[in-house]
């Protein structure tokens, strides 16, 4: 028995509109977009400590003991916003710490771990690398990341994107 499907030729309306006279070349468009994004920098970078604070308040609400899965999921959602900010505005170390936080939280949800302690450690690390915080030297940054790595190992947490590990700051 075969499965039947329809193949429908579709008018490429977007293509037609993009090809109308005038327009912008790739280089010009990308440069203009970069400039437009930069206008958000001050406001959005200032929002980073507040976003970390939102994560901290979830841990505080748990009494720093057990965090229910629903709250872990809420933290993951908020962490996504932090990654938008750190990735867009070039805070590489914060980006790395938040990604490890996401690895941890996804692993905790999968393994049904509600312990607040490892979450708390990652939030402290975020504060340490938050814009406006103390400047960490390379050795200090490596030391902090290796500490987070040990927490992950302790809980048996895997990286969500192991292929990214090679591109990011090396740990001891």
């Amino acid at each position: 028995m075969g499965k039947c499907c329809k193949i429908i030729p579709v008018k490429n309306r977007l293509g037609q509109l993009l090809r109308t006279p005038g327009g912008i070349a790739r280089g010009e468009a990308v440069a203009a977009a970069g400039t437009a994004v930069e206008t958000l920098r001050a406001e959005y970078v200032n929002a980073i400590p507040g976003e970390i604070g939102a994560l901290e308040s979830i841990v505080m609400a748990s009494g720093r003991r057990q965090i229910p899965v629903s709250q872990l999921k809420a933290m993951l959602d908020r962490a996504g916003r932090l990654l938008t900010l750190s990735g867009t505005f070039g805070f590489d170390l914060l980006d790395e710490v938040v990604k490890r936080f996401c690895d941890l939280v996804v692993g905790m949800i999968e393994k049904d771990i509600g312990d607040a302690a490892p979450v708390d450690v990652h939030l402290r690390a975020m504060r340490l690398v938050c814009p406006g915080g103390p400047e960490l030297g390379e050795n200090e940054a490596d030391h902090m990341l290796s500490g987070l790595e040990r927490v992950h190992t302790h809980y048996g947490i895997q990286r969500l994107h192991p292929e990214l590990a090679e591109q990011q700051p090396q740990v001891e």
Partner: protein, 185 residues
């Protein structure tokens, strides 16, 4: 001469619960010259906008506050209006969305972009959708653009697999209204 693209006549809907992401994508589109774009922070409102307004492009986050984007895209792909049903859809995925990406992709999106969105990436994905003539597939389990790239080049960042392009044992017949019916055995 370098190819030019006119974004000024395009209308886009951005759907994302992350206000920073919508702000950044808005600014990127504005930089391209696409100033007619609207923002929805959830899937239900997006459905209302899509039904009421005329958009040429949908950019949606994978996980929306009230539904996953797969549900929204499936709704789009089954819409009675041809303009809505065949609209190009770019899906944005976050770092932690690993487990949702396949399901979202299978809902019928045109391309998938990882957040945070960079101007070069978004430009390349939108113009790729515009350049590539892809027919639509309507089958029992899938409605969306054809995912075999025999109709053009693969999307930016797409890893070609030889098995995607192997000869199919198919029978194709054209109906009176120009639709091809393919029977896969």
């Amino acid at each position: 001469m370098e190819e030019r693209f006119n974004f000024t006549r395009i209308s886009a809907l951005i759907v994302d619960g992350d206000r920073y992401s919508t702000g950044i994508v808005s600014q990127i589109l504005r930089g391209f010259g696409l100033s007619r774009h609207f923002i929805s922070t959830n899937g239900a409102d997006a459905q209302k906008y899509l039904a009421a307004e005329k958009f040429d492009l949908l950019i949606t986050e994978c996980m929306l506050p009230d539904m996953n984007a797969g549900t929204l895209v499936r709704w789009v792909r089954r819409h009675s209006s041809v303009r809505v049903r065949y609209m190009p859809v770019v899906m944005l995925t976050g770092y932690a969305d690993v487990s949702h990406i396949t399901a979202a992709r299978d809902s019928g999106v045109n391309s998938v972009v990882r957040k945070p969105v960079a101007p070069t990436t978004l430009f390349d994905h939108i113009t790729w959708s515009a350049r590539t003539e892809r027919p639509f597939i309507e089958a029992d389990g899938y409605i969306g653009p054809c995912r075999r790239f025999r109709f053009g080049e693969a999307s930016p960042g797409f890893n070609r697999r030889g098995t995607d392009h192997g000869p199919d044992e198919t029978t194709v017949q054209r109906t009176d209204d120009g639709v091809l019916e393919e029977t896969v055995t």
